[in-house]
Amino acid sequence: MNPTVSPFLPVLLLFLIALGVGAAILVLSGRILPGLLKPANPQKAKLTPYECGAPPRQEGARHRYNVKFYLVAMLFILFDVEAAFLIPWAVQYKAHLWTFWAMLSFVATLVVGYVYAWGKGALDWER
């Protein structure tokens, strides 16, 4: 072996090879070479966000929607609970005057809410 060559020469070579490989990857797989070779023909249709063929209704997916679904859902839960209370009561009803008036007052309370919701136009779908 030539004594004038440093034993660290392989390390230098390895470093240079690593540098070369890194540079080659950057050039070949990065934007440089493909950017020169790839065909690019951007068209309006290609730049639209959807691929199902239908035209998009608005730009992007972030948009506001009407809260009337929420309102109807809340009213449904309210009167659903009312029915859930009423049915077991009606099944077990034994003509006690007290339970009759108690349930009637409960329904009357909800009727007030119903009238209020109606008056506010909450049941009006086309608004």
Partner: protein, 202 residues
């Protein structure tokens, strides 16, 4: 080493031939399946008929990643602009195979609702007859397309696709001008081409 000449190791060829060789053996199909041909297409892709053998291994369901549009089935007038949009979104260069009689000519659906052949709205390269065609038939169709790709010139293919983009721009113009819906405007263009004795709008 003596006696070896340059001719033994170097083969001059045209750029078209090399590029087309690469193109025809790496087709990326996109199925536009609307009817029973799509069912046949499933067996064409599956192991028994194995369409992958012809270089079309990677089946994609996004137009952005594919270059071979296989129209499998009946296309109605309302679907026509959808087909046009999907064809426009595909990567270039792109080819279209009309599979089955419905896609090719409207087939037995000779009605006001059905597009009488998709070649009225998108450029078609190969038509495969059959109702539905057997997987062998579809494979034969794509092999014919591969032969066609071998022969075609690169610039001609480019112009061919460019022509379609121009018709799409015209479609948009008409839509803006007349305030029609997307499918109405394509229908108008088809009828207009028919009135002038033509068949296609691209």
């Amino acid at each position: 080493m003596a006696g070896i000449s340059l001719d033994d190791s170097v083969m001059p060829t045209r750029l078209d031939a090399v590029v087309n060789w690469a193109r025809r053996n790496s087709l990326w199909p996109l199925p536009f399946g609307t009817a029973c041909c799509a069912i046949e297409f499933m067996s064409m892709m599956a192991s028994r008929y194995d369409f992958s053998r012809f270089g079309a291994e990677a089946l994609r369901f996004s137009p952005r990643q594919s270059d071979l549009l296989l129209v499998l089935g009946t296309v109605t007038n309302k679907q026509a602009p959808v087909l046009r949009q999907i064809y426009a979104q595909m990567a270039e260069p792109k080819w279209v195979v009309a599979v089955g009689v419905c896609a090719s000519t409207g087939g037995m659906y000779r009605t006001y609702a059905t597009l009488q052949g998709i070649d009225r709205v998108v450029p078609v390269d190969v038509y495969v007859p059959g109702c539905p065609p057997r997987p062998e038939g579809m494979i034969f169709g794509v092999m014919e397309l591969q032969k066609q790709i071998t022969r075609e010139s690169l610039s001609a293919r480019k112009e061919h696709i460019e022509q379609f983009y121009q018709s799409l721009a015209r479609q948009e113009e008409l839509q803006q001008a007349r305030g029609l819906s997307q499918y109405q405007v394509v229908r108008e263009m088809v009828l207009e081409a028919g009135a002038q004795g033509g068949q296609r709008i691209w």
